[in-house]
């Protein structure tokens, strides 16, 4: 504005096009007339020249830049291995203490489920949408937890106190993430209300944002939670955050698409209570629960529990999803009922299915605390607190059977109930006989049954076997609904009464367990029988397998007859077996006949047979002993014995069979080459392979005859295409079908078609139709597609593979699928582990994540790991060889002693090759001092069983005596023996003269003779380069933080560093005097004069002889000039001479000058003469030409006349 005021004249009104009026119309008309077609086309189309490129180079650059940018965006396509129903998304809330992590989780959960959770421990799974579940877990301020969670979290909410700024924990965590595969990270700034000044708020936000961006990636999402109202974040902000979470997409990470893992959200101690009583520190038998993530988990793999160690899965089975997605999606939003929440550690969750029991969560203490006086709740609550052993608690817990009745304790109750519950005892015993590793599949059946019965009432009594106390559950579906509805007081009452029932039974069952234990002897006998039967079972299975196999391995004919025959011959046996198994399985099922029918149908499916052929009794459970035995026990005594005899004899048979097949010659050939097959020239056999050749009949889609006909039709349709074009639409479908059936009927007579008119016509039509379709297909393939790049192809193939992965096993029943594929991601599984240290249970803290990672092949047996490492620049100390480090590698965290080395090639040092790992020093005292706890990061380069790290060693010696090229060297070795070891070794002087060790000499000890390529000097130092193999310390100590007591979880101590040991012990390094700094004194070196022998001097030419006199130049310089005084005569002569000389010189000079002048003059004269000559010539020429031209004109004139 100012400018315009200053210079109003400068501003000119810009031109405006007329949009209306005569002129505008005229212009428009003209325009339309010019290009009527391109009326609405773009500028580029209308005026292509204006958009053509001017410079080819610039165009090339532009193109290249575009390609660069495009290529930079591309990632290597990875096969997406997430299953159809994925596991819950794992969201870790990370941040330093006191930033509001718990508050955030609470708010998020409240927002998703509408039910506030006050006391959160461990992971909480929530159904957030129609297709999405989310598991929240808070990361406590422990670097071990941070590491573990960084490995498994899909999304990280990184909290930061904005009023304070980023803390070291944040950067440590980010660094951990960078090494272990970056999950999605979302920053959340809290405590923004603490900054009062709006300007500082703005700048803080900005600086924090930019710092965050440099750490994660530019443009990473950062959330602002501006303040707290009533102890909660603002609703709108939380809602926004939730929305972000529920639409977030994740890129598969490399580690996680190759490993399966799970985050344990529940655990059960299955150890025999009696064993615990005898020895509280005995190894435990545990079961852990969680959703499988990553890739399918195979049953046989061993796992690593972070903070505990490597374990072998004792047993694994899948359970119904405790927090399932809504089954049918009708509406847009979730119904209240579908908003499930599952958090066993926090005491929340609906029905919990176990392998052989069903649990109902009775809600957390807070929700139940409405009526704490209720004796039911009091009883259960008293049970819940697990500080006191259960039996004691039960004994103490009081219960009122009837209103107004006396409160009873367990002991009293036992006395009362004992006689009346005889039958229950029996049942318990029967159950007890069930082995621990009972068939998983039977469990599944049971569970299915359970689920079915869920709709009605369920009255299965479950008494657990090995001393583990379980509550028996008797419930109605109405009941579990009642847990959701908080208002129905009636229901409450009802359930309460049921609970009462529960308790009664519970108490009873526990008491029986004790009685059971007293009958250990019985158990032993049982066990023995069991073992025998187990053996029998396995052998039987094998014999069955063998039978199958002999069939296959037998004659080729049998092979050719394929599995049909095999099926037949074996079916009887299989069915026998099967029947038995099924019998045993379904003794508690009613519809036997139906089951039998089903199993028969199953058997009919050839795939099962095929698999059975190879894997033996694959479908049946691994050990069906118990069932068999029970069956046997049900039978008569005689039968049992008979059965046993039979089994033994079969066993022997089996052994015999085994012997036959034990030492078979191994060859990958089907039959040895010499054996004859059937005669393939026999026409009967010839038919069998005729179509294997290109000369045979092709498939419909690629039959040569068909294609040929197609060509014929092509010609025909060219001729009279119009005719066919008209009624093509009407009849094609029918006709096409008819020809097809024709072709399938008589394939051989295809070419010789009957020349029936009608048929021919139909043929032609069909072919025309076929042709059209083919053309369409061709067009679709080649015309419409943009050119596909290599990248696109890769992407497509990855997608195809992902699709296949999902679809291949889709229709298989889960129990079979689990065998082939493994437990796929998204399944809720129960894993049993044996021999777990007792400390895991006693020191269990749900706030520490329970990460169970499967170990892939080769990760179990470790040798030496060669890594490239880089020290973190924030780590203040120096990494030293032989100082232990805690390393997180794969799933593992362990302490080890690294050995730093670098690669050296022959010529020169390369840039130092660093090692690579996540290195952590987490001892608490050090943390504060260090500032940054991550020492270094890196990547694994290779694994090996042996190492080849060598130390360079230089042995130094001094010449003792030197002959021409031979020298005696001392001081390198101590004995002749040592020298003998190094005979022939290369040596070198510092000045670079190379030589070789020849032989030891007797005196002095260790001295040797060596030869050199040149004479060495006495002052030379001789050295011998040798290599010394360095032993890499083998030390591996897993960081078992989960086993530490609660208050010491943070302070795991491994072995100390050398420095620490010295400090602790008060050891001081011996001082090496050479290492001390002293002022350097350098004396000038006096050289001796060079002495040349007299003889030699004489022989030398004069030039080279040492001159003892003074040099002439020096002489001159040294002598002062002396004044010369002439005699008078002499003086006269000299003046005379001088004068003459001067005169002469003058004369000469004059002469010279004159000559020059004369010459100049002459030159000028010559030039003038030349000029006049030229002038004359010119004039003459002029005259001649003039005359000549005149004459010419004259002649012309004459000619004209």
């Amino acid at each position: 504005m100012e400018q315009s005021e200053d210079s109003p004249l400068d501003k000119k009104k810009s031109h405006r096009d007329r949009h209306s009026g005569r002129k505008a119309e005229k212009k428009k008309k003209k325009k339309d007339a010019q290009n009527p077609v391109l009326g609405e086309s773009s500028d580029k189309q209308r005026n292509p020249k204006a958009f053509a490129f001017n410079s080819a180079i610039r165009a090339e650059r532009r193109f290249r830049r575009k390609q660069d940018i495009e290529t930079k965006k591309q990632h290597i396509p990875v096969v997406d291995r997430t299953p159809i129903e994925p596991p819950p998304i794992l969201i870790a809330v990370v941040g330093p203490p006191k930033v509001g992590k718990s508050t955030l989780i609470k708010n998020l959960i409240k927002n998703f489920t509408r039910t506030p959770l006050t006391d959160i421990k461990g992971p909480v799974t929530v159904v957030t949408g129609k297709k999405r579940r989310v598991t929240f877990i808070e990361c406590n301020n422990d670097i071990n937890s941070m590491i573990d969670l960084a490995k498994v979290a899909d999304l990280v909410l990184l909290l930061c106190d904005a009023s304070f700024g980023f803390e070291m924990e944040v950067f440590e965590f980010l660094n951990i993430c960078q090494v272990h595969g970056m999950p999605k990270i979302m920053g959340v700034l809290t405590h923004l209300d603490m900054i009062k000044n709006s300007k500082t708020l703005k700048t803080t936000k900005k600086t924090l944002k930019h710092r965050f961006w440099t750490e994660v990636y530019p443009g990473a999402k950062l959330f602002y939670l501006s303040g707290i109202l009533h102890g909660e974040y603002l609703r709108n902000e939380i809602k926004n955050l939730c929305r972000f979470i529920s639409v977030m997409k994740f890129r598969p990470l490399q580690w996680r698409t190759t490993h399966s893992y799970l985050l344990g959200d529940r655990y059960e101690d299955l150890t025999n209570q009696e064993l615990i009583r005898q020895n509280p520190k005995c190894d435990r038998h545990l079961s852990l629960y969680g959703y499988i993530r990553g890739v399918p988990l195979k049953k046989e793999t061993s796992v690593h529990i972070a903070g505990l160690g490597d374990l072998k899965i004792h047993n694994i089975s899948y359970l119904p999803d405790p927090c399932p997605l809504p089954e049918q999606i009708k509406k847009r939003a979730l119904i209240e009922k579908e908003k499930m929440i599952y958090a066993p550690f926090s005491g929340v969750g609906g029905i919990v299915y176990d392998k052989d029991a069903v649990y109902i969560e009775v809600g957390n203490l807070q929700s139940r605390s409405k009526n704490p006086n209720d004796e039911n709740t009091a009883f259960i609550n008293s049970l819940k607190e697990t500080k006191i052993p259960l039996d004691v608690k039960i004994a103490e817990a009081k219960i009122q059977l009837f209103t107004g009745g006396q409160q009873l304790t367990a002991e009293e109750l036992e006395e009362n109930q004992l006689p009346s519950t005889e039958n229950v005892l029996l049942y318990a015993k029967e159950k007890d006989t069930k082995d621990e590793d009972d068939l998983t599949a039977s469990l599944e059946n049971e569970l299915n049954e359970l689920r079915k019965q869920n709709s009605s009432s369920f009255h299965e009594e479950k008494v657990e076997d090995s001393g583990r106390i379980r509550r028996k559950v008797v419930f109605d579906t109405a009941e579990d609904l009642s847990y959701n509805s908080s208002d129905a007081s009636e229901d409450d009452e009802q359930s309460g009464s049921e609970n009462e029932d529960d308790q009664v039974e519970e108490v009873v069952s526990t008491s029986f367990e004790y009685t059971d234990l007293r009958r250990n002897k019985d158990n032993e006998i049982h066990l023995k029988i069991k073992n025998i039967l187990k053996e029998f079972e396995s052998t039987e299975a094998e014999s069955f397998e063998n039978n199958e196999e002999t069939v296959t391995g037998n004659e080729e004919d049998a092979m050719e007859a394929s599995s049909d025959e095999a099926e037949d011959s074996n079916d009887d046996e299989i069915s026998d077996n099967k029947e038995k198994i099924y019998d045993s399985n379904i003794k508690w099922k009613e519809n036997l006949s139906q089951k039998a029918k089903e199993s028969f149908l199953d058997r009919q499916k050839s795939k099962r047979n095929m698999m059975k052929l190879v894997y033996g009794i694959f479908d049946s459970k691994p050990s069906t002993i118990e069932e068999n035995r029970e069956e046997d026990s049900n039978k008569d005594e005689d039968d049992k014995i008979g059965g046993l005899f039979k089994k033994v004899s079969r066993d022997q048979e089996k052994v015999k069979l085994n012997k036959d097949s034990m030492n078979v010659t191994e060859t990958s050939l089907m039959l040895p080459w010499g054996t004859t097959t059937r005669d393939w020239l026999d026409p009967q056999n010839k038919v069998l392979v005729a179509n294997c050749f290109v000369t045979g009949k092709w498939k419909e889609s690629e039959d040569a005859a068909e294609l040929l006909k197609l060509d014929d039709a092509n010609d025909l349709s060219d001729v009279d295409s119009e005719i066919f074009g008209d009624f093509e639409d009407l009849e094609t479908g029918q006709k096409f079908n008819s020809t097809k059936s024709n072709s399938s009927k008589d394939q051989t007579a295809k070419r010789k078609r009957s020349h029936d008119e009608k048929d021919e016509e139909a043929d032609r039509q069909a072919l025309a139709e076929k042709k059209r379709k083919l053309k369409e297909k061709f067009d679709a393939e080649y015309d419409d597609t943009e050119k596909t790049s290599y990248y696109d192809d890769l992407k497509i193939s990855a997608e195809k593979q992902a699709q296949l992965n999902k679809s291949v096993f889709e229709n298989m029943p889960d129990e079979v699928r689990v065998q082939i594929e493994g437990f796929r991601a998204g399944m809720y599984v129960r894993m049993e582990f044996e021999n777990v240290p007792a400390e895991f249970v006693t020191n269990f803290d749900p706030t520490y994540p329970l990460v169970i990672g499967a170990l892939n092949m080769g990760e179990e047996n470790v040798g030496f790991v060669n890594v490239r490492i880089k020290k973190h620049r924030w780590y203040s100390k120096i990494l030293k060889t032989s100082d232990p480090l805690i390393i997180s590698l794969g799933w593992r965290r362990f302490q080890t002693i690294p050995l730093y080395s670098k690669l050296e090639d022959d010529l020169k040092y390369r840039e130092q090759d660093f090692l690579a790992l996540q290195v952590v020093d987490s001892s608490q005292d050090v943390v504060k001092k260090l500032g940054f706890r991550i020492a270094a990061t890196g990547t694994v380069q290779e694994l090996d069983k042996s190492t080849q790290i060598m130390k360079k060693l230089k042995l130094i010696g001094y010449p003792l005596k030197i002959y021409k090229k031979t020298a005696f060297i001392k001081g390198m070795f101590n004995s002749a023996l040592e020298v003998a070891r190094f005979e022939g070794a290369r040596i070198k002087t510092v000045s670079g003269i190379r030589g070789q060790i020849k032989k030891a000499v007797s005196k002095p000890e260790g001295c040797f003779r060596a030869t050199f390529e040149d004479k060495i000097q006495l002052s030379d130092i001789v050295f011998c380069r040798t290599w010394y193999k360095v032993d890499v310390p083998e030390f591996y100590a897993p960081v078992n933080t989960l086993l530490l007591p609660l208050d010491k979880k943070n302070a795991w101590r491994g072995i100390r560093t050398k420095g620490e040991i010295k400090r602790d012990e008060g050891i001081k390094n011996p001082i090496n005097k050479d290492s001390l700094y002293t002022p350097i004194e350098r004396k000038p070196k006096p050289f001796k004069p060079l002495v040349i022998p007299q003889k030699l001097q004489k022989a030398l030419p004069y030039r080279d002889k040492p001159k003892h006199g003074v040099k002439s130049s020096e002489r001159k310089r040294g002598i002062d000039r002396v004044a010369v005084i002439h005699e008078p005569h002499e003086q006269k002569v000299s003046t005379m001479m001088k004068m003459i000389k001067t005169a002469y010189e003058h004369k000469q000079e004059k002469l010279k000058k004159e000559t020059k002048e004369r010459l100049e003059k002459h030159r000028q004269e010559v030039a003038a003469q030349e000029a006049s000559k030229g002038r004359k010539l010119k004039q003459k020429k002029k005259e001649v030409f003039r005359n000549r031209s005149k004459a010419q004109i004259r002649e012309q004139k004459k000619g004209n006349k």
């Binding site: 291995r81 190759t258 890739v295 399918p296 195979k298 046989e300 072998k312 063998n546 296959t552 391995g553 394929s562 599995s563 795939k607 095929m610 698999m611 190879v614 894997y615 085994n658 012997k659 034990m662 030492n663 191994e666 060859t667 990958s668 050939l669 089907m670 080459w673 010499g674 097959t677 393939w680 020239l681 038919v687 069998l688 392979v689 179509n691 294997c692 050749f693 290109v694 000369t695 009949k697 498939k699 889609s701 296949l804 291949v808 298989m812 082939i820 594929e821 892939n856 092949m857 080769g858 990760e859 179990e860 040798g863 060669n866 990547t939 380069q941 290779e942 090996d944 069983k945 042996s946």
Partner: protein, 378 residues
């Protein structure tokens, strides 16, 4: 016959499938103990060719522990890391080079350094796949599982037959991080037949006679039949007289079926065989292989199965002819060593066609995601 598994150690009884067990042990890193090796036999204990195999595996690996008791009837094998590199091995004459080469085929890809193995011994015998077969069909099978097959080759330097052998081959194998998942569902149709007939230290005319008789049969099925004669001179022809023929049929989809036949060994008391019989026998066997069909020939089934099982954690699918006994056992062993179970089905093609050979089996599995851990990454 099945293993007794105790923690990581697998215990077997008997010498059957010793090679499979050792190979899988090396690949899986699990130690094996094999007891009662030919205890009831006249020659108890491990035989010479097995010792030779163990030696070969020892050369191939780093840190292998082998314990053999005095009688040789029990063996403990704790594998080290596959190392590879240049290997020179004199194979036992009891078995062909194919016996050892098959092991190298299975292990070569997973070594630390590219394998260059020189093997000497018998190139073709009646019970092992010959080196020709290894060079054609088996190498072709292996190539399907790696993206880039540069450096994968087998050179036959010398041929040698029983009883004295004298053959020599060089096998070069690159290293790969992992094998790729495959979907091999169509074997295609046989489009051409090729072959090699060789006569070692006998009249070269014998080779021509074999060719004639083989062609006589094969030309009835397909016109595109060419059989070379490999004239081996001097040292190239090994130490013993004999002759043989190797035939291969290539399909439109690049599958190769192989068959071969060698002459009887006269010095060991067998009847001298006629070249016509040898040629005809090989042709018949080739037709049999074609009849069996599948995307691999019957001999290389196990190799294909292994590559499928060791692949990335993706689904692989393959259709083969009827499973051989060897591959059935291989599948069982795979389950024991790796816990891989294959889904096996009788393959029903969508288009019902007569005369396309035997019933096919479709194998489906999810790879275990084995990656070459010993390979050095820069």
């Amino acid at each position: 016959m099945t293993a007794v598994i105790n923690k990581n150690l697998l215990t077997y009884k008997g010498s059957s499938f010793l090679r499979q067990r050792l190979i899988l042990s090396v690949l899986s890193g699990k130690p094996v103990r094999i007891l009662e090796i030919r205890t009831a036999d006249d020659n108890p204990g491990v035989s010479e060719f097995e010792v030779s195999l163990i030696r070969l595996l020892d050369k191939l690996t780093n840190g292998t522990i082998i314990e053999l008791d005095e009688t040789g009837t029990s063996l403990y094998f704790q594998p080290g890391l596959l190392y590879g590199g240049a290997i020179d091995h004199d194979c036992s004459l009891q078995r062909g080079i194919g016996y050892y080469l098959e092991a190298l085929y299975m292990l070569g890809l997973f070594c630390k350094q590219p394998l260059v193995a020189t093997l000497r011994g018998v190139t073709s015998n009646p019970i092992d796949p010959s080196v020709d077969l290894m060079k054609t069909s088996m190498l072709q099978t292996l190539k399907k599982f790696i993206l880039d097959d540069e450096g994968l080759e087998l050179k036959i330097l010398k041929r040698g037959v029983l009883p004295l052998g004298g053959g020599e081959v060089v096998f070069k194998c690159p290293i790969r991080k992992q094998t790729r998942p495959v979907q091999l569902l169509d074997a295609g149709m046989v489009k051409r037949i090729r072959g090699t007939a060789y006569a070692l230290r006998v009249s070269p005319a014998l080779a021509n006679r074999m060719v004639d008789s083989a062609k006589g049969i094969l030309l009835k099925f397909i016109p595109d039949v060419y059989i070379n004669t490999d004239q081996c001179k001097g040292k190239q022809s090994g130490k013993s007289p004999g002759f043989g023929i190797h035939l291969m049929a290539e399909t439109t989809n690049g599958v190769i079926y192989s068959a071969e036949q060698v002459s009887n060994v006269v010095s060991s008391g067998e009847e001298p065989s006629l070249p016509e019989d040898v040629g005809a026998g090989a042709a018949q066997r080739l037709l049999y292989e074609i009849y069996l069909g599948g995307v691999t020939d019957s001999t290389s089934q196990s190799l294909a199965i292994l590559c499928m099982a060791l692949g990335q954690k993706d689904v692989s699918k393959m259709i083969t002819g009827p499973l051989t006994e060897y591959s059935i056992w291989f599948l069982r062993h795979l389950k024991e060593f790796f816990g891989v179970t294959f889904k096996l089905e009788n393959h029903l093609s969508d288009e019902e066609c007569e005369g396309t050979g035997s019933d096919k089996v479709s194998l489906t599995c999810v790879g275990i995601g084995c990656s070459n851990i010993s390979k050095r990454t820069i």
